[in-house]
Subunit: 96 residues, 2 copies
């Protein structure tokens, strides 16, 4: 099941920067960075619930936001990518 | 038809900053900012093709990237939002 996770973490202080690093690391453990603050995480639903739980424990809901889009299993025809990809998709799997 | 547009625009030079402003403005003309570089654009397919065409003319594909997710019409159950919303959703329509 493909899930899209995007986040805005306030980095006006060092605590925010630490949260941003932690969110980013957690997403990278399970998914693929497609843009600066956007990840695609393709895992089963149970695993995703664990990831989501971890992320919700990291963010500060007063300052940060986390947005999740459940793209389902039939997601490939839903996505288009234009422009540079080198930073985010070393395998090129998700780019077409 | 709901469409999600996320973009990374290189802002290492002034031309990049100008592109970022243009992309952002174009997206705001048709959609709603939900995060820093993520917009939800809910228009008919024909209108979206025009928006997409405009965006592709703004970005520099060597330095920027644009990613589009077609969420379809039955998109509301696909989205979850956590944390702060004040910057991005003044009407609160898309937050639940």
């Amino acid at each position: 099941m493909m899930t899209l996770v995007s986040y805005d973490v306030s980095t006006t202080d060092n605590k925010g920067k630490t949260r941003l690093r932690k969110v980013s690391k957690e997403c990278q453990n399970y998914g693929q960075r497609v843009q600066n603050s956007v990840f695609e995480i393709d895992v089963d639903y149970g695993t995703f619930l664990k990831v989501k739980d971890k992320l919700l424990k990291i963010i500060d809901p007063k300052h940060d936001s986390l947005r999740i889009y459940y793209l389902g299993n039939n997601w490939k025809h839903r996505v288009e990518h234009y422009g540079t990809k080198e930073t985010y998709d070393p395998e090129g799997v998700l780019i077409f």
